[in-house]
Symmetry: C2
Subunit: 114 residues, 2 copies
């Protein structure tokens, strides 16, 4: 019983962490940022983010499997788009949190992030 509750709790935490990790990468954020404006094909994402094509594809695969983006075939293109408005909400909430803590985040070098 306690076991089950603990398992559930940690499962939830693991999920949250995993989802956060989906956002915790500059490349994926760049991709999501680009897709926030409009759906884009892979080569368009490559152009705008200046990431390599395999790199973009790899991240898109990850984002797709996680359900953060969706894809539609359009001729020989594959058009990707944000899967849920909640993602946009999350991204803008992060920005408003950054308004408060950006200074500290920049300064934090413990587990350095750059």
């Amino acid at each position: 019983m306690v076991q089950i509750v603990d398992d559930r709790k940690s499962a939830t935490i693991e999920r949250r962490a995993k989802l956060f990790r989906g956002f915790a990468d500059p490349s994926r954020l760049a991709i999501l940022g680009a897709l926030c404006n409009e759906p884009l094909a892979v080569h368009e994402i490559v152009e705008r983010t200046e990431l390599s094509q395999p790199n973009v594809s790899n991240h898109l695969r990850c984002l797709l499997d996680c359900g953060l983006v969706a894809s539609d075939r359009d001729g020989r293109f594959i058009r990707y788009r944000i899967s849920s408005p909640r993602i946009t909400v999350l991204l803008s909430d992060v920005d408003s949190l950054l308004d408060v803590v950006s200074e500290g985040v920049d300064a934090c070098n413990n587990y350095r992030g750059e």
Copy 2:
């Protein structure tokens, strides 16, 4: 000019990524989750999360420097608390996003997260 804009943009993306990375760890999420209910001293966090004491201290240092938590000395204890309600907002955003994508997140094994 374009340079500057690009730098700013990427700086923002880097910041977002760094901030997300702050949340992208089960231990830190457990700590933040514990602190969401009430301020706690370190040893209390250790008890509730069942993490090792040095581990908790390390993460607290990181969270403190990033400005995600704040601390007050109380006798020989040091009491930590969530620094901004926006953090709670962010955490609940993630949960509501998980309502939609948890299935996919569980399934995603590309960059495996467990």
